[in-house]
Every structure is written in structure tokens, then in C-alpha cells.
């Protein structure tokens, strides 16, 4: 039998980026299948024979910076690399502060793992716009499905 109903399948990914959210132990590529179903998945994964490696990041235009980030990807940063990155820290004495009040930096976006910081930052930025409008959701059709204790 031909897998995937003989459709052409292209799988794309970067193993240096985040793992699949949720049960990543059940991902197709895991070497030690978690259960019978994962074993089938693993077998399907092994049938992908043509591998194309994209090894140049096109987004970044500066070669020096690209090389530093390439090393960061695999955890191979040198002391020089770390120093170059450290100088970007806004609180660092060697940092050249950009002008956040004017273009293009007034348009900067923050990336943070902290949900709470994200909420505050977004709220502050939204309130800074011309006449913010606050809209509530509309609750519509509501019907009782079950009486108490059943659901």
C-alpha cells in the first residue's frame, strides 16, 4: 500500500526551533516511539527519502551577524560573539540606545516569554493610540442543555 494515498507530501521544519506544542514525545520523528500508533508514525517518517537542507538564513542581510546567529543556534558562541550580543542589552553601559520616540524604533515590537509582561505592554501601547474604543463581547442565544448535576 502506498502511504498518504499516493499524494506528494512535503514536511518542513527546523529542529533548532520550538518542539511541537503538547505531547512532543509523540512527534513523528521521535526515535523511540511512545506507543503502537507512534511506531506507525515513525515508520511513515522514515519513508521520506528526499531531504533538502536549507542552510542559509535569508532574512538577515549582514554576514557577520548571520555567522554569530548560526553559532548561537548550535550553542557554539565564542566570547566575542557573546560580547557583540551583550552590547545590544539596553541596560549595558556599552549599548548605543536607539531613539524609541521616533521612526523607525517607535515601531519596535517586544518578544518576551512572560505572559504578564505581554499583557501590560499591550495594554499600555493600546491606550497610547488615538481614542481607544473598548468593545465588550455580545452574549447571544443561551439555552439550558441539562439541569444541574447532569453536565
Amino acid at each position: 500500500m502506498i502511504p498518504f494515498g499516493s499524494s506528494d507530501i512535503l514536511v518542513m521544519g527546523d529542529f533548532y526551533q520550538f518542539l511541537p506544542i503538547g505531547q512532543h514525545k509523540k512527534a513523528l520523528y521521535m526515535s523511540f516511539p511512545f506507543n503502537k500508533c507512534c511506531e506507525i508514525g515513525r515508520n511513515l517518517y522514515l519513508q521520506f527519502q528526499t531531504v533538502v537542507l536549507l542552510n542559509w538564513q535569508m532574512r538577515i542581510t549582514n554576514n557577520h551577524w548571520t555567522h554569530i546567529l548560526h553559532r548561537a543556534r548550535t550553542g557554539d558562541c565564542s566570547a566575542d560573539d557573546i560580547n557583540t550580543i551583550q552590547q545590544l542589552v539596553l541596560t549595558d553601559s556599552e549599548c548605543t540606545l536607539p531613539d524609541f520616540g521616533n521612526p523607525p524604533w517607535d515601531d519596535a515590537i517586544l518578544i518576551t516569554p512572560r505572559k504578564s509582561l505581554q499583557t501590560y505592554w499591550n495594554e499600555a501601547a493600546s491606550m497610547n493610540t488615538v481614542i481607544p474604543l473598548v468593545t465588550l463581547n455580545t452574549l447571544s442565544t443561551q439555552k439550558t442543555l441539562f439541569s444541574k448535576g447532569v453536565c
Partner: protein, 199 residues
């Protein structure tokens, strides 16, 4: 109705079909679409843009003076918003200026338990302010000017993926800043050696 509204407002974002109870919008505000509203039209989870126009409900009693916080609380959700996507779309919409995409409120359903079990249908724009993203949400996005926070958190550990994904968002070193100090080890260890990265 008040009990239902209270019960709804107490629920988390995930428990209300991922639509916010309250949303602040304004002209020129940066937003991100949070659901696959219409992928064909370019409105997918993760689409970014600015609000170009707000069409208010015709029952809306006109502009009042803003409240203490400088906001106007709308009585009805706007009928339609026009989004100017960050990445231009090719699809055109009849009667809509070129390059703009109309967005309507999305309907969501969920259950709440008050005195009985009630099914609630609600409508809200599937949007969120987009002045900041989590590392996960930023994956795959190109951001022209970016500030990255790799500082230590008290509740969970950052792993090399957080650092790599965030650092790669901008186009160059002069387009990125770091918000605060970071653990240099994040960039000096292979992700495979990180006990938290590989399960």
C-alpha cells in the same frame, strides 16, 4: 443575564473559545488575528496588521467624551473593521479600498455552569493587540525592529530555543535590542545538552 456575564468574564481566554470578553481597539492600532477566520482572504491565526477603519454599529449613540482612562466604552461591537495587513494581500474585496481586508466579529460557543449548565454563544473580534509576542508566537515572523527579552524568569526556565527563535526575527544587528541581561549559557550550549529542551 448578569450571572451569565459574570460567569463568562471569570473564565480564561482558552475556556471562552479563545475570544476575549473585552477588547480595546483604535485606529492605526497594531493587531494580530488569533483565529483562522478566512485563510483564503489572508486572515489566519498570526496575521498581523493595523486597523485602518472602524465601522461602528448604527445603533451606537455617537461619540461621547472619553472616560478617565481616555477610552470610549462602546455599547455595541463595531459592525466591521478594516485591516491593513503587514504583508500585503493580493485578494481584493468589492467595495473595500485596495489592500484592506474586512474583519467581522467571530462567533464562539462554550458552556458555563451557573444554576444550570448553559451554552453560551458570543461574538467578538478574534484580534489581540500586537505590540508584543511570546517567543512561540513570534516563530516564523519577520519583525523589522525588535526588542527581545531573554531575562531570567522566576516561574520557568528559558531554553536555547527561546533565544534562537527570538534572535532570528529581525533582519540585522542594528534592528535588534535586548531588553535586559541574559544567561550567556543559553548561547553556549547545544540545545540537545539542555535537559529541558529534549524530553
Amino acid at each position: 443575564m448578569t450571572a451569565e456575564r459574570f460567569a463568562t468574564a471569570s473564565l480564561s481566554f482558552d475556556d471562552t473559545d479563545r475570544l476575549p470578553t473585552q477588547l480595546t481597539i483604535s485606529l492605526q492600532m497594531k493587531v494580530m488575528v488569533t483565529k483562522n477566520i478566512c485563510t483564503y482572504a489572508g486572515l489566519a491565526n498570526g496575521t498581523r496588521g493595523t486597523i485602518a477603519q472602524i465601522v461602528l454599529d448604527e445603533r451606537e449613540p455617537g461619540y461621547e467624551t472619553p472616560n478617565v482612562q481616555g477610552c470610549i466604552a462602546l455599547t455595541f461591537p463595531p459592525t466591521m473593521l478594516l485591516l491593513k495587513p503587514t504583508v500585503p494581500v493580493v485578494t481584493g474585496f468589492e467595495g473595500i479600498p485596495k489592500g484592506l481586508i474586512p474583519i467581522f466579529p467571530t462567533q464562539g460557543s462554550f458552556k458555563i455552569k451557573t444554576s444550570s449548565c448553559t451554552m453560551v454563544h458570543h461574538q467578538q473580534f478574534a484580534l489581540t493587540p500586537a505590540y508584543t509576542f511570546t517567543n512561540f508566537k513570534s516563530q516564523g515572523q519577520t519583525i523589522e525592529r525588535v526588542i527581545v527579552d531573554l531575562g531570567k524568569t522566576s516561574s520557568f526556565m528559558l531554553n536555547p530555543f527561546h533565544a534562537y527563535v527570538a534572535l532570528y526575527r529581525s533582519r540585522g544587528r542594528d534592528m535588534i535590542q535586548l531588553l535586559r541581561d541574559f544567561d550567556h549559557n543559553l548561547l553556549c550550549h547545544h540545545p540537545c545538552e539542555d535537559p529541558l529542551s529534549r524530553g
